[in-house]
């Protein structure tokens, strides 16, 4: 589900594989070590895991529709409500179609370090019998469950972006943006971070190496190296990311920042009051996001076990902590604690805990939550106002910044000395030695790569959309509201 598996393969394996890592494109010629994988005993599917993952996929859908739709929708003026709901629903719908046509294949088949191939386009070969690996050796789930679960991640990510330039873009721009962005930014990112050969392949190759006699050592080592190199670029960089801090949150947060800079401010920004039309809806959305996020984070374990429960507890506690720390700092700084502040903090906590959900100890998650609540508060208020960009719904301030804080903090809280789980090494079948400096640097590198990838890539996509259909609605349409002008309907009547 994420970078963590790399982490479990461990630093030693990283060293072993590093020679292969560059030049990455050359490396794609390496034959996929299917034979080694096949040699392992067929992994077993447990219906408890399947039940949990079915539920998790549903929960992540609930995050988008109606969760995110309401969270964002409540924050805009009522004249633009439907445009927000529409953007979210459209993203979900179009990404679902693209996912089964070629998205899953691009993200989750072997290929090169940056993107997969088309071997599973149209979900070719993925049947009710297909099994997909988890993060435990010998444990599998139906591949179609994995397809569904991952699809829901792809669905919500582009929808997150639109919050940054809500209330002013043309729907046709959204229609064009989503397919381009997921195809060229998201799927590669998912591949780079989440694609790997799987625990059974690594385990089998490592065991084969251990069992090899002197003569077979070199071949077995080569086979193991091949298995280890059959993974995405960031995965091999050694960063860890339990449930998508980079792929989803930093990725969307940066695209959002770029987008709102390119699109420009809302007409009347700084002069007219842009009050949220229904904070009630925003609370409902935040509640559903939290509820659904357990599917996102705890579901990312792909199994129903004690580690899943840890990811769940961390997702609870970081959220509580960030909600409270935002509340307190706002109370101190502005004189009153607001409900919007509490739920904004909660979302910041959820974002930050995403990469660390299954790595941090609960106290680590708690402290990370406290920190991210304060940092995001600072970004959404002081920094944004200082720079004067109009990130309407604080996508960058919450998802971008929260994601970065979380990704880096993950490198710290994973430490077994701080109550974290440490990083499992599949080649030795044990938790690896942990070095905080190494890990934090790996995390920072992954963050920087993501910022550049998403920043540059998204800018290009925005300019293409601008050139083809135009990004912005006219000022008149903006004034009248996008609901009437773009969709021919209004959200509320008596």
């Amino acid at each position: 589900m994420n970078l963590k598996t790399w982490s479990r393969v461990g630093i030693p394996a990283l060293l072993a594989a590093s020679a292969l890592a560059l030049p990455v494109l050359a490396q794609t010629a390496t034959p996929a070590p299917d034979a080694a994988a096949a040699a392992a005993a067929a992994p077993v599917i447990n219906k408890g895991d399947t039940a949990w993952m079915l539920v998790s996929a549903i929960l992540v859908l609930a995050m988008s529709v109606p969760g995110l739709a309401l969270f964002y929708g409540g924050l805009v003026r009522s004249k633009n409500m439907l445009s927000v709901l529409m953007q979210v629903f459209y993203s979900v719908a179009i990404v679902g179609i693209i996912w089964v046509l070629y998205g899953y294949s691009l993200a989750f088949t072997g290929g090169n370090d940056f993107f997969g191939g088309f071997s599973k386009a149209f979900l070719k070969g993925v049947t009710v019998e297909s099994a997909g690996g988890t993060f435990s050796v010998g444990v599998a789930i139906p591949e179609l469950v994995f397809v569904a679960f991952q699809m829901t991640f792809a669905m919500i990510t582009p929808a997150l972006i639109f919050g940054a330039f809500a209330e002013r873009v043309k729907f046709s721009a959204v229609v064009l943006f989503v397919p381009l962005w997921v195809t060229f930014i998201y799927f590669p990112m998912a591949h780079m971070v989440w694609y790997w050969a799987g625990p059974d392949a690594v385990d089998a190759a490592a065991k084969a190496l251990a069992a090899a006699d002197a003569g077979g050592k070199a071949a077995a080592q080569a086979a193991l190296d091949a298995v280890l190199s059959d993974a995405g670029f960031l995965y091999k960089m050694g960063a860890i990311d339990f449930a998508g801090g980079t792929v989803v949150h930093i990725n969307a947060g940066i695209a959002a920042l770029v987008g709102c800079l390119i699109v420009g401010k809302r007409t009347g920004y700084g002069k007219e009051a842009f009050q949220p039309h229904s904070l009630t809806l925003t609370l409902v959305g935040a509640g559903l996001l939290w509820v659904g996020w357990f599917g996102f984070n705890a579901g990312s374990n792909l199994e129903a076990n004690g580690l899943t429960a840890l990811a769940m507890m961390n997702t609870f506690i970081a959220t509580c902590a960030a909600a409270l720390s935002w509340m307190i700092v706002e109370w101190l700084a502005k004189g009153k604690p607001s409900m919007l502040g509490v739920v904004s903090g909660a979302i910041a906590g959820l974002v930050a805990v995403t990469p660390m959900a299954g790595f941090a100890g609960i106290m680590g998650a708690l402290i990370s939550g406290l920190v991210v609540g304060v940092v995001c508060f600072f970004f959404c208020t002081t920094v944004k106002n200082a720079f004067g960009y109009d990130d309407s719904l604080d996508v960058f301030g919450v998802h971008g910044v929260g994601g970065i804080v979380g990704a880096i903090a993950t490198g710290i809280v994973v430490s077994p000395a701080l109550g974290g789980t440490g990083i499992y090494d599949y080649t030795t079948g044990a938790v690896a030695e942990y070095n905080m400096a190494t890990q934090v640097i790996a995390q920072i590198k992954a963050v920087l790569f993501t910022i550049v990838w998403s920043g540059v890539g998204s800018a290009i996509v925005f300019y293409i959309v601008h050139a083809v259909v135009g990004l912005r609605a006219t000022v008149e349409k903006e004034r009248e509201g996008l609901d009437i002008t773009e969709h021919g309907e209004r959200a509320y009547h008596s």
Partner: protein, 112 residues
């Protein structure tokens, strides 16, 4: 025939209505409005955005009465709507030239 239009604090509506029925006035029309005046508003903060809100919720009451009752009506409203705090509101009196009851077509004083 005059119309007495009063801007009052919303929670005073029932008292004003009672005061008016007390003096025999059994019809009025109420509109939700927002008022700007001496009464201080408040500040709303939504994340980074702070808005000074100077328009406060008020109710506008319109009562049409025969000219001879205007003084009584004004007095009743003044007494019942008063809290003594800034923002209690205003009363304005206008001349009506003509009135009709739609149901019956009765006009002027009969229409009230």
């Amino acid at each position: 025939m005059k119309i007495v239009m009063a801007i009052i604090k919303p929670f005073k509506l029932e008292e004003v209505r009672d005061a008016l029925t007390g003096i025999g006035v059994h019809g009025l029309t109420v509109t939700e409005v927002k008022g700007y005046g001496r009464q201080k508003g408040h500040t709303e903060i939504y994340r980074g955005a702070e808005y000074a809100v100077s328009f406060l919720p008020k109710l506008k009451i319109e009562v049409a009465v025969p000219s001879d009752q205007v003084a009584k009506v004004v007095e009743a409203i003044t007494a019942s709507a008063k809290t003594g705090q800034i923002g209690d509101g205003k009363i304005f009196v206008f001349q009506i030239e003509h009135a009709v009851r739609i149901r019956t077509g009765e006009t002027d004083a009969d229409a009230l």
